[in-house]
Amino acid sequence: MMRDILFHIKSLIAGHFTVFKHSFKPAVTVEYPDEKPIIPDRFRGKHTFDENACIGCKTCMRVCPASAVEIFKDGNKKTILFDYKKCIFCGNCKYYCPKSAIGMSKQYELATDKVEDLKIEMGKKDNE
């Protein structure tokens, strides 16, 4: 009984001391908007599109689980439409593109207050 109580008191003190000890360690916080986290190279952020490399095989459309990507082929002109309402950033379109025309950038701040902004068309050519 007495030994139990002593043991409990000892463990309580040890617990408090462990928490107290942590107050001397530096903070691990990343203060986000001021201080950006380090983004690794393989990060899957917003897509990039190289219209010259694209051959219009539409593999990306076939491998996308959420049907978030669409390729429009009009002669030589290829455009791609990403729907970020649906996209789950799985990277399938990037991984299985035979010509590496689709890439994924490190851009991750994609929040917007307009729904229309979430549909992004890439690869428009001005010359008609």
Binding site: L12, G15, H16, T18, V19, F20, H22, S23, K25, P26, A27, V28, T29, E31
Partner: protein, 360 residues
């Protein structure tokens, strides 16, 4: 306080207003002082707690609003004040509105009982220590009413838990207070402090009592690990689950005001209250004993000593909060009735023996 009263009567006398009017209206002054002090202290305490908890967990805490985050809690308070007061369907309107006030007012009275310096006591009753414990138990009525009036089962359970808790933890406090009163031969808080000038601080003879008092005070202010009435992970928010806006702010204010006042009370009866370490005032050492405003300076210094002691205790309370998980109701009862209550009686008996030896 007497000086303030004297000034006020003199001021009224100048305009020919009778003294009786002054007697009746004078309490407005301490009321205003306490209200302002509570808001200031609570704003600081909340910030202090958030920063301290952040330090314990290797975070930074609020550091955006104002210089290094000092205005964070002020901004939070303004936000709470601007929020809509929601009256949920089916609440008992009168009790629902009265409950936060019933929680807050007794705590405000408690603030008036603490001697902040040897001349700065708002209410100096001859039995102020006893009165303190009596009033400290009152906020629970507000909690029960809040739980009952909210028309919410979680709130009701929170309120009932609060009642059960306060009953179990009131008794050990009384016994500890009795032993302190026996040591000081008085139940007046100022006398208890003056008794500590001549002898040691009462924490030395009555260390077990201090531990009991510390645990019971945490239980009385419903803080972790005794936060069963508002247990977030079980009862969502317990008795204040339906409250919003200003009424919620009152609960919040009451919680932190009671945290401060409980710690101040413990500092008063165990750590010598406003007494400095070694009974030597720093201002006396600096300015010499012939300095003109020495007495005034000493009053201020006494307040600072009390604040320092209080905040050391507040820090300890926060360390406990950061470390311990919440008790369950069986553990709560067991701790109180099987451990603290017998220990407080033993402590009381021990103190009586010490007192007897001291007198002889």
């Amino acid at each position: 306080m007497n000086y303030l009263y004297f000034l006020y009567i003199q001021f009224l006398d100048k305009y020919g207003i009778p003294e009786i009017f002054g007697d009746i209206t004078f309490p407005i002054f301490p009321f205003c002082i306490i209200a302002a002090a509570i808001i200031l202290v609570v704003l600081f305490l909340v910030l202090f707690e958030r920063r301290i908890l952040a330090v314990f967990t290797q975070r930074k805490g609020p550091n955006r609003v104002g210089f290094n985050g000092v205005l964070q809690t002020t901004a939070d308070a303004i936000k709470l004040l601007c929020k809509q007061n929601i009256n949920p369907v089916g609440v008992d309107r009168f009790l629902f509105n009265a409950a936060p006030i019933l929680v807050f007012v007794p705590i405000m009275v408690l603030w008036g009982l603490i001697p902040y310096s040897s001349e700065f006591v708002f209410m100096n009753f001859s039995t102020s220590a006893i009165l303190y414990t009596a009033i400290a138990a009152l906020p629970v009525i507000g909690l029960i009413l809040a739980g009952y009036a909210s028309n919410n089962k979680y709130s009701l359970m929170g309120g009932i838990r609060a009642a059960a808790q306060i009953i179990s933890y009131e008794l050990p406090i009384m016994f500890v207070l009795l032993s302190v009163a026996a040591l000081a031969s008085s139940v007046n808080l100022k006398d208890i402090i003056s008794a500590q000038i001549s002898s040691v601080w009462f924490i030395v003879p009555c260390f077990a009592g201090f531990i009991i008092m510390f645990i019971c005070s945490i239980a009385e202010m419903n803080r972790c690990p005794f936060d069963l009435p508002e247990a977030e992970s079980e009862l969502v928010a317990g008795y204040n689950v339906e409250y919003s806006g200003m009424r919620f702010a009152l609960f919040f204010l009451g919680e932190y005001a009671s945290l401060f006042v409980m710690c101040a009370f413990m500092a008063t009866i165990f750590l010598g209250g406003y007494l400095p370490i070694g009974n030597k005032y720093i201002s006396e050492l600096i300015f010499g004993s012939n300095f003109q405003f020495l007495q005034l300076l000493i009053y201020f210094e006494q307040v600072i000593w009390l604040l320092v002691k209080t905040f050391i205790l507040v820090y300890l309370v926060m360390l406990v909060r950061a470390t311990l998980p919440r008790l369950n109701s069986q553990g709560l009862m067991l701790l109180s009735w099987k451990f603290l209550f017998p220990l407080s009686i033993v402590n009381f008996a021990l103190i009586m023996v010490i007192k007897y030896l001291m007198v002889v």
